[in-house]
Symmetry: D2
Subunit: 289 residues, 4 copies
């Protein structure tokens, strides 16, 4: 397929690599120039408008503001040459996803929300889990693209914002797992048991899952740099979850507790560390860090 | 080995079955009579004193009060005929574990704390994970018993109370996982995504671990009866964790939030349901139950 | 003085009444027409631009969106005929207050933030407490207006946003007092002591302050309608506080807990009741409502 | 009246002074000797049994353990010479109050729970607020004693434990006010407004009550030593409230949040400071202390 890709961060670059490898023609654009360097087989274009056309346009931008700036305020939906489909893969707010769905509908451009679970290394292996919602026929049509990037595409119906809600719920569960490990480690360490020993037991048994194994190792080794996913960005996702939850009428005490902890972590200089550094807050509060 | 076993609840009976199958001689006693019925190959005795002797005595009682009543107030450590080792497998408080360590030391009876992770079906298969702490030589000596009951014995040093701290930390992490799933499901359901769909994705990927798969299934199907582990008992374990945490100087905001939710669940009549029914609290608070 | 007043809600009308009584000339404008009916001595004008001129313009609008729409997007600062001073009395976000300060500076119009504490009846008596921040000379110049409306003007320096931070802090303390009373009443009622009896004691002694007496009476009598201040608006103010706190790096666990409770209250249909109806959440959670 | 008084801490000594001044005969006993030194007009006795007799015995001990040790385990209710009434004025648990009620009923000694609000200086002036519950006739009979010590006796029915529930609810509201001030000050300070300025405004207006004025001044001046009421003791009272709340089925998220903060304060060495030092936790969490 002939596609445009907007947003060449670490995730975006890895995803583009998979698309190229699968034989797709990929025009790429990034706000800060030079981002396409070293990306073999792509066609760098000079404006987002040149990327936002063809069979499909994929966006993988940092946040709501970036997506709004490029797509909405950039007027991409008002130009004559528009894509056959917009696949929005960024982690954005439920509110923006709803806005995008409405704006695209008015513009006559099909829109599918398709945020992903997985870190850059999973993106490089095409092993992402893609969470898709939007018109069914469009998701089917996008299959060659989705299959190139992900291990599996999980469908959540025709309303795009639902995919974003699922993505935010997943990130909420990840940071909750981190907080639970942080508190549990502070607890056992105050009883003379190293957190590493506790986590060795639990992540080998009841909690033998990637989320716990990966973050458990970082916490056990206090290896928070370089950040796989910056705590500051995790705080943003928790904020998006809480905002959507408030609109939807859902109290989330764990999300609230995690929010307080993340703010405290940032106030103590850990915003650019991996978000598993939230565990340091539990240690500090108990006088152990 | 010639052992005594005190406490024939569902867990105790299954553990006794494994000991008998492994060829050990097992004298059994239970507070309420008749509990040994249907247990093949055991020797029912009429008093706890007759069970608390031999090569080793194992206790698997409901809570601090039961253990205190039988062992401490029952004066078992003051009788002439005492066991070569006391293997305390109940989920009890850190404080009682410390008391027991001291009392046994005065009495000259070796004491090992060895609480377990696993439900009755795991106990029947000898697939428990046993968390042991106490004098190293004693744990080695108890290996034939521990190996009969568990898939693995995890050692946490020589101070018995550490094993109990680890057990409480693990239960805290379980109930935190339940709460996180409950909030996440309430969140996505308010956005039109059934909790079952969210959990299907997450427990197949990032959270593909027994804790999430088992409890996720119960939550997705709202199958809270019969209780695998009663919510009321889970609330007790959270209370024990919070008490130990307070003494040890560790704030645990997740444990506090979970405590509030469990109290609310009990106040709404769910105390005898499975503790995964904590998820109903999130649903109710958001006006969906 | 010759002033314009924008925003004729219950508070705005009462404040305008005081200004007129003090002899000021008051041009008034409101988005929904007819709001000036029954307001003696005022000069209704047909557009916000006609109000936003003269010696001073006062704004008392519902929220950020209304103020942004009328002042910023309405381009009032770009028109040739501008006021000698803008006195912003609405409860708005810290972020908007900062934006307004910058925008006014560029436009060469002095800006003072002056939100108020007090309900409509206090406004009618000129008994508001006014929280002012902005250029000192401007606050002095506005004294005839401020003194007409308030019992006292409290100054918080020259940076306008500080007044808004103080206002949000005050509202946070009010809703925290409500939550504390709600929990305390649920607690004593579960012990057989009516909340009214508890509050009678406490609001006569340690807590003999308007905040506790007023809201305590509403809670004791469960008299949540008509709303003095709608719970939904209170939730908005807590949201503004939490947003500013996050930006400023301040975790606020009480604000988080209150936020969860307010969402729950709204989800159960109490959004239009007085915000002291937050106490109903404590009652419901304990199975008593 | 001829009374005995057990427990000569700062509060007890001040209360004894009032009883003597009102003309009562007061036998006094304290666990650590020498406590009656400097107390004019009292009759020191050598054993609690000698104090626990006469027209009434008053107890003002530090906690559950002390009261249990002296009265229950000390067997005072089994001795032949018993008081006409036991007035229990200590801040104790609801559970112990219930036990005491039952034990006294079996022993045929009337029991009234009468904990107090007020600090030592209020006790010296006879300005305590006394919270009484128990048999009505007994409270009437005790009036000469209660009136000597308190400004007012507030009655809460015939079940003694209710008075203790009210006392714990009041202390919960005090510490909640402290926490709210702590968070509000951290919030405005991060916006450039000294906490002292915020509190000056609020404690002069909406929160013009002793609780806020007194603790607000300590927080504004960071004057946490010497402790009027030690944070460690405040933590104990919150624990008692949470325990009773759990038994009674009442979730208390504010109490939970305060508990976490108090544990953190103690972990950072502030346990012996005034409990208003809880405000330091908010400052530390936001990176300002």
């Amino acid at each position: 397929m002939d596609v445009g890709f907007i947003g060449l961060g670490r995730m975006g670059r890895a995803m583009v690599g998979r698309l190229v490898a699968a034989g797709h023609t990929v025009r790429v654009w990034n706000r800060s120039p030079g981002a396409s360097e070293g990306l073999a087989g792509v066609i760098p274009v000079a404006s987002p408008a040149e990327a936002f056309r063809g069979d499909a346009a994929l966006t993988m931008l940092a946040d709501d503001a970036a997506l709004r700036a490029v797509i909405v305020e950039g007027g991409l939906l008002d130009q004559p040459d528009r894509p056959g489909l917009h696949l929005g893969m960024s982690t954005i707010s439920v509110a923006l996803a709803r806005d995008l769905a409405a704006i695209h509908e008015r513009a006559g451009v099909p829109y599918v929300s398709a945020p992903v679970f997985g870190r850059p290394d999973a993106a490089e292996r095409g092993a992402l889990n893609i969470v898709a919602a939007g018109p069914e026929a469009e998701i089917v049509r996008a299959a060659p693209l989705l299959d190139a990037m992900g291990a599996k595409t999980w469908r959540f119906g025709t309303e795009p914002a639902r995919a974003n809600a699922v993505k935010l719920a997943g990130n909420f569960m990840l940071i909750s797992a981190i907080e639970a490990m942080g508190e549990a480690c502070a607890f056992t360490e105050a009883h003379g048991v190293p957190g590493a020993d506790l986590l060795d037991l639990l992540t080998s048994t009841l909690f033998a899952a990637p989320a716990y194994k990966n973050y458990g190792a970082l916490i056990a080794e206090e290896r928070y740099e370089p950040a796989g996913f910056a705590l500051r960005l995790g705080a943003k996702d928790v904020r998006l979850a809480l905002q959507a939850a408030e609109v939807a009428g859902v109290p989330m005490p764990f999300a609230s507790a995690v929010r307080d902890g993340l703010i405290e972590a940032i106030a103590h200089g850990d915003g650019e560390k991996d978000w598993s550094a939230l565990a340091r807050v539990s240690a500090r509060r108990s006088g152990r860090a």
